[in-house]
């Protein structure tokens, strides 16, 4: 293991591996440490969705840029991450929701996202087994999509290593060395690594690392909430390709996994804050109640897996991205509140440029995601979140 680097990234999920890759691409000597295996925190537990349909300018713009990155990512990383633009379809059950959809669509269109209002009949053409009679209209954007989280993290890590980055799995940070308010390195269970810059990309575990650096744990109040998914046996592809979500049905959603056609089912039943990852029977019953109402034929599909992961939530469900002003050389990109995977390409690029150049060309609104906003008592409008 190296004992010195220019930058240490803590956390080997989609965000951390993307930051490491983009830093290595800029010629930075970077080390990434991950306490488990790559992706073991939240990335490999996610529902794979990539969406631009947010309800505020900052997240829409950041995700619009991200989709442009996702489109070229397999080619850039020379590894197929299986990105597919299969869309996101939201469904309305009341007239009030239809009106809200119209407002959302105006906002999306203003920033170049081609969302449109569709009829239940059109929705059924897109998702043939849909229980379309229950819905009044759809909010449909065909340019949203999904990708394979396993392959994405693997591809970022592989390319980062090719460019000279070192990645240490099963390496847990036990201390962050700060002298005179300057970062000096990290202590791990496998030895000390010195560096002048440390990036906290530990998402659900980020507050623990902030505390190790001498900051108050509540300074950036990220809390882990247990969310779960169940998956059916592989089904014929092309039936539920988009993510389909009636928000009024407890934010429940279904979509076919882009790898094997199995249907992923999620719902808004969350537990926490907790670091427990045990799946619950209550969730299994709840999620299937909604999933079989959205797609009645799903009652004949076999459930083969259920697992849990964290939404690392901030009070406004927007991540904390940027420089921590109290300690020279300390940066954070954490608290993604369920949106880390979809944002990873652009956030990694923006963070790498911020560290190297002090600014970035990525359309990321640094003020919106400012890690210091919580201590100032400022909250953003809540980022639109499902399941």
């Amino acid at each position: 293991m190296k004992n010195r680097a220019e930058v240490i990234v803590i956390g080997g999920g989609s965000t951390g591996t993307s930051i490491a890759y983009h830093l290595a691409k800029l010629g930075v000597d970077v080390v990434l440490v991950e306490k488990g295996y790559l992706g073991s925190g939240s990335t490999f537990r996610c529902a794979t969705g990539i969406r631009q349909q947010f309800t505020d300018e900052a997240n829409i713009k950041l995700m619009r840029y991200n989709v442009e990155r996702w489109k070229k990512l397999s080619e850039e990383l020379e590894y197929d991450v299986n990105f597919k633009q299969t869309g996101y379809l939201f469904l309305a059950t009341t007239e009030e929701e239809v009106e809200a959809f119209k407002e959302n669509i105006k906002l999306h269109n203003k920033f170049g996202v081609p969302t449109r209002l569709i009829t239940p009949e059109e929705a059924k053409e897109i998702v043939p087994p849909l229980n379309a009679d229950e819905f009044l209209a759809g909010q449909w954007n065909p340019t949203d999509g999904k990708a394979n989280p396993f392959k994405t993290v693997f591809a970022f890590a592989r390319k980062a290593k090719e460019l000279g980055a070192e990645i240490y799995e099963y390496t847990e940070v036990t201390g962050i060395i700060v002298e005179n308010k300057e970062i000096k390195g990290v202590k791990t269970n496998r030895g000390t690594i010195k560096a002048d810059v440390v990036v906290n990309a530990a998402n659900a575990w980020a507050p623990i690392l902030n505390e190790m650096a001498g900051l108050d744990r509540e300074f950036i109040p990220i809390k882990p909430f247990k969310h779960q998914l169940v998956k059916t046996e592989p089904l014929k592809e092309g039936q539920i390709e988009p993510l389909v979500c009636p928000p009024a049905w407890n934010d429940s959603y279904v979509l076919q996994d882009g790898e094997d056609g199995g249907v992923l089912c999620g719902t808004g039943l969350e537990y926490g804050p907790t670091y427990d990852m045990t799946p619950t029977y209550e969730f299994l019953r709840e999620v299937l109640k909604w999933a079989t109402r959205i797609i009645p034929a799903l009652k004949y599909a076999h459930i083969i897996r259920q697992w849990a992961g964290f939404y690392a939530k901030t009070p406004d469900s927007n991540p904390a991205i940027g420089k921590i002003n109290y300690i020279d050389g300390f940066y954070i990109a954490a608290g993604f509140s369920g949106h880390g995977f979809m944002m990873a390409p652009g956030v990694g690029e923006a963070m790498a440029e911020l560290i190297v150049k002090g600014k970035s060309h990525v359309p990321l609104d640094w003020e919106w995601y400012d890690p210091h906003r919580f201590e100032r008592g400022e909250l953003r409008s809540t980022a639109f979140q499902i399941g």
């Binding site: 396993f150 693997f154 799946p279 799903l298 009652k299 004949y300 459930i303």
Partner: protein, 93 residues
């Protein structure tokens, strides 16, 4: 030998001995990574068929003892169950 390499190790996701060995030869020896890149153990059998064999392949190729290779997490349900049974709409097949 080439016929032998076409042997299916994971019947749920059609993964061959050749594919597993190719990953190990690239230096990917962690069962968690092999599982996710090839989808072994993630099908309806939940790894009951393939995982013991994958462990012995990793052990043979890396010189590790099979005891040193930690099994990936077992997910519920242990056996596939129709969704309709869980919501009480249809009876067990």
């Amino acid at each position: 030998m080439s016929e032998e390499k076409k042997i299916i190790i994971c019947r749920c996701n059609d993964v061959t001995l050749e594919e597993i060995e190719a990953l190990i030869d690239q230096g990917i020896t962690d069962i968690e990574t092999i599982k996710r890149l090839l989808r072994i153990g993630m099908g309806p059998c939940q790894g009951r068929t393939c995982l013991p064999m994958v462990i012995s392949i990793i052990a043979r190729k890396t010189g590790k003892s099979p005891d040193e290779i930690k099994l990936p997490a077992t997910r519920i349900p242990v056996r596939p169950v129709p969704a309709g049974v869980l919501v009480g709409e249809i009876d067990e097949e």
